[in-house]
Subunit: 334 residues, 4 copies
């Protein structure tokens, strides 16, 4: 199965390349970035002697001739216009941007006017634990954001036990690769190292994404109050969810039973850490209770489970392959 990677210059583009090089069933037939005219080994020197392929300037028609599926690792806005072209040329799309993750109204409220209103309504939200059947039949998959992936996998099992009138708080800690590869004041080593701070508290665009998915999946209007933090870590994400319980529950049992058939969710008996999931598609989850106070903590690799490996899982499902085909399970530890 031939696949194209569009947006190869960034971190998630590189992770897609790395995953697909060794994937037993996908073959990279096309790689593009915004300029083209460069070999992938120059773009990513770590690929020297590993992959030898020219990087093109992205062109939908060319892609439609050589690939069945395209992974789009593009900024939002850029992504929807390109996805539209590809879909009209019958190329299936796994979109890693925000462009198809939300219902139209929510999207336009938090991002901008949508330019592909036809396809947004048919897109499937690519969180395999909750949308597996829809993914199998989809043409367009909206790959979830990293924060919503870790937050939803932690929170969803407990919605029915939570007092949804009380605010739910999500305190997320993200590695800096989540801010992308472009240099900025935010990603300067001197600013990040030996530091930690929150940003956009209660205002991050992933907040409505989490809220909407809880409503769609659980039919509950919840008040998600999301506060992301940057920690001096390159890759990985830790999410801490705080909620008020309606009644006594056994938190471990609920987690175990929810995810007993999930290949890529591991329930832990101790608080999870980033290192055990970095390099893998696993989401590790641990929960604890103090009378009516609930704490759930989940860990993912923000670039893999929060982006590229989840995208490949979605592509696997889309093609009828095993969910875990070519998906990493062995962490980088130490």
């Amino acid at each position: 199965m031939n696949v194209a990677i569009i947006g190869a210059s960034g971190y998630t583009g590189l992770e897609l390349i790395k995953l697909l090089i060794t994937h037993p069933k996908f073959n990279i037939s096309y790689i593009a970035n915004s300029t083209g005219d460069i070999n992938v080994q120059e773009l990513h020197p770590c690929l020297k002697d590993v992959l030898n392929i020219e990087v093109s300037k992205a062109n939908a028609k060319d892609i439609s001739k050589v690939a069945d599926i395209a992974f789009l690792a593009l900024p939002h806005k850029t992504s929807m216009s390109f996805a539209k072209e590809l879909l009209d040329l019958d190329v299936k799309v796994v979109d890693l941007s925000a462009d198809y993750r939300l219902e139209l109204d929510t999207y336009e409220k938090h991002y901008c006017e949508h330019e592909d209103k036809d396809h947004i309504k048919d897109s499937v939200y690519g969180l395999p634990e909750y949308y597996k059947n829809d993914i199998k039949d989809a043409k367009l998959i909206a790959n979830p954001g990293c924060y919503p992936t870790a937050s939803l996998l932690a929170l969803l099992p407990f919605i029915e036990y939570i007092d949804t009138k009380a605010p739910i708080f999500i305190d997320a800690k993200s590695g800096v690769s989540g801010a992308g590869k472009n240099p900025s004041e935010t990603t300067h080593f001197g600013q990040i190292n030996e530091n930690c701070h929150s940003y956009n508290p209660f205002k991050h665009r992933h907040m409505p994404e989490i809220q909407e998915k809880v409503r769609l999946l659980k039919n509950e209007e919840v008040s998600i109050n999301f506060v992301p933090h940057l920690i001096p870590v390159t890759r990985g994400m830790l999410v801490s969810v705080y909620a008020t319980l309606k009644n006594d529950i056994n938190v471990s049992e609920i987690l175990e039973s929810t995810y007993k058939d999930s290949e890529f969710v591991r329930i832990r008996e101790k608080p999870v850490d980033i290192k055990s999931t970095a390099g893998t598609n696993f989401c590790d989850i641990f929960a604890a209770r103090n009378t009516n106070a609930l704490f759930i903590t989940s860990s993912i690799d923000n670039l893999l489970r929060g982006a590229s490996s989840q995208a490949v899982v979605n592509a696997n499902l889309l093609c009828g392959f095993d969910e875990g085909e070519g998906i990493p399970k062995i962490a980088y530890v130490p």
Copy 2:
């Protein structure tokens, strides 16, 4: 005014030495650790050509002859027996351990049997913003823990506006120096670097300390649910408090009016970070609101405001000096 530092080997002991070397009114007349018989320059090579003094094996009688105040940077349990001796010899004590921070019952429930029941009831909790007058007249000051310092300064101004029937969540991120200088699996670079995890969720001993102080200061029984995290940072601490509001409030105004006369609390207009307080005695605070959801974030240097510089502030007040005498305000940034 001659002062003694007992427990000079650890991180807080070193910070005390550093602060007192340059203090305009205190003179270090005695330094001790558990073994003695070493020069302070061997114990802390960074002090070469800076301070030349022998480190003794701690002895209360010797201290009483050469010092008016003793700073105890000792483990809990060890601290109370030594403090008792000193107090009986009329040496004033600023204790950095947990031994005199709590009411007797709370202490014995969470630590162990108390061996100095006489003095614990007269000790003053050394959080200057809330206990300044008591500190001035005290003989024994219990210096607050780092987590309670950052948590209480953030939380206390809002208690009357919070729905105290709902759980209050505190998500704290601490630098590794908080775990002390002794090597352990927890402090191994390979375990901390590129990692983040919570520990003892809802079970840390600083949880009852916070809860008790809210009750004593605000006459409110609150449900504090405390989850500490380790981040790959050497020094500094960031605390995020999440609570449910009873009504509409202007969070900035409340903070500004609470701390308008506080030399060492700075109210920020953007989320606080660790780097702006590391190296200082400042506590920076920022708050935000989303309908009835409240977020307060505070930042301190865990070894200074969370331990040694707060101890020196307390000693300043005890001696009738200015609160800020010899207390650092200029951060290490970058």
Copy 3:
């Protein structure tokens, strides 16, 4: 082909496990550490849902029944007595310790009395680029140290052009995982983070190892002056070699021609970095010249090319497999 891993608790033991789980031709039939009686998932929580096997207390007879090759990731001294037992039971051994790396005299001068004088003389030094044919026929392979691997691969191509009467300097920078998993003052986060220092300058045991191999391979007595440094990095190693040239040379051409057939050496046109090799078995090399001053810099993953993946390459060769079978080439970047 069934293989055993002895010494599974440490970093190199874990890396061996990780490599062999996915190896297409080796099967892990036995894992041991010094205590046994634990599941590998408890020993290394990152392996949850990945590998399920009991860890035994190491026993040579048991190994001889279930494995054809044993990887020993043991401390020196411990290793030689165990290797001896295994070899006498006809189990082939890839030893990651120092015990068989040196000629007997050199070993006893720098380590201790040798307890397996029979086998040390038949051991083969497992640096595949220089000993490939010997490795293929070996029963006992002494896997090189991480510093010698990176240093020799950089230095050997230039020996004939270097003024060997002048000192050769090697300035090596190692990630902290090289110091092992046991907590110590040296590996404490507070000591390593924001720090850098050399240790044992001119006295490290890898210095005679490098010197001996240059003599054996190039028939030149050189003066190797080795200074290792610790940098605040978990995994990876950068080596900078400085030497005096006898005459004008084209450094790139020499490197290119030496390693043109080497699958796991990459010659770079810019100074190498750690990130491009971390996670792989590659050794990246770059060289520059300033009249008669030569600079060669090489980068490896200290736990892989410097230990575990090189060990598996050696096992591949020993078994007549392709050198690169199951050996990682895709770096962890970012």
Copy 4:
């Protein structure tokens, strides 16, 4: 004594501010950056409640009215035209750029055409240990670069014992703050963290600076071969010098006798580290010998001894104050 700081936005500008706030004899009367019209607390949020002064757009005439000395923390080229104006207005200048550090020929060979040929010949190189008397009478001080400061202090004591026909190698490891505050690919956290690499080997502009000063001070033409490396550290620098000795020497004695009267050089008995000097003006030095191979390692805070605190030492000397007036000696450790 009123002083001006020009170039207040960068790291060295901030360090100058921090030093001069607490300096007992200097008073900051003017702060400028390239835009002006901002309060220093907005420019550097860590200064909130510490210093309240408007930042101007730099203007030489204004400065001449309010300050006797100006510290220029400007990029090279910008610096010389501004210094010229100030000198012509009788303001003394401590220039932290490269513009006056070299002889005219050397400068124009490695940088660009010089625009202030009048003053360059009268400038004094601000390395106090070697130019103290000249500094006292100077009007224009060229503050040395960070690499030359650490390299020269390590190397100079040994020049007469070194075989100057053999190449001298300097392997320097710098914290990232040396690359400045502007975001770039080089300073991106994802590029620096868990990484290490050399850059511009044998081509860095500090190489001729070191070479020239050895010639001027010791009357020896030496072959300096300089290779800088970036390490994942914010502040601090470690320099390792490798040279060939002509004869037997006692390295410690030579260091001790050279620097016995130097307040800010500490000779160490063990390899130096960055943490013991970070936050101070100290240069720590250690040396070792292996027959004719010499290793000298020095450590400084690149922003202080390598820039701002050395600039203030120079200003102290210029004004007839004590060298150590207001100069930090207490490291940030841990």
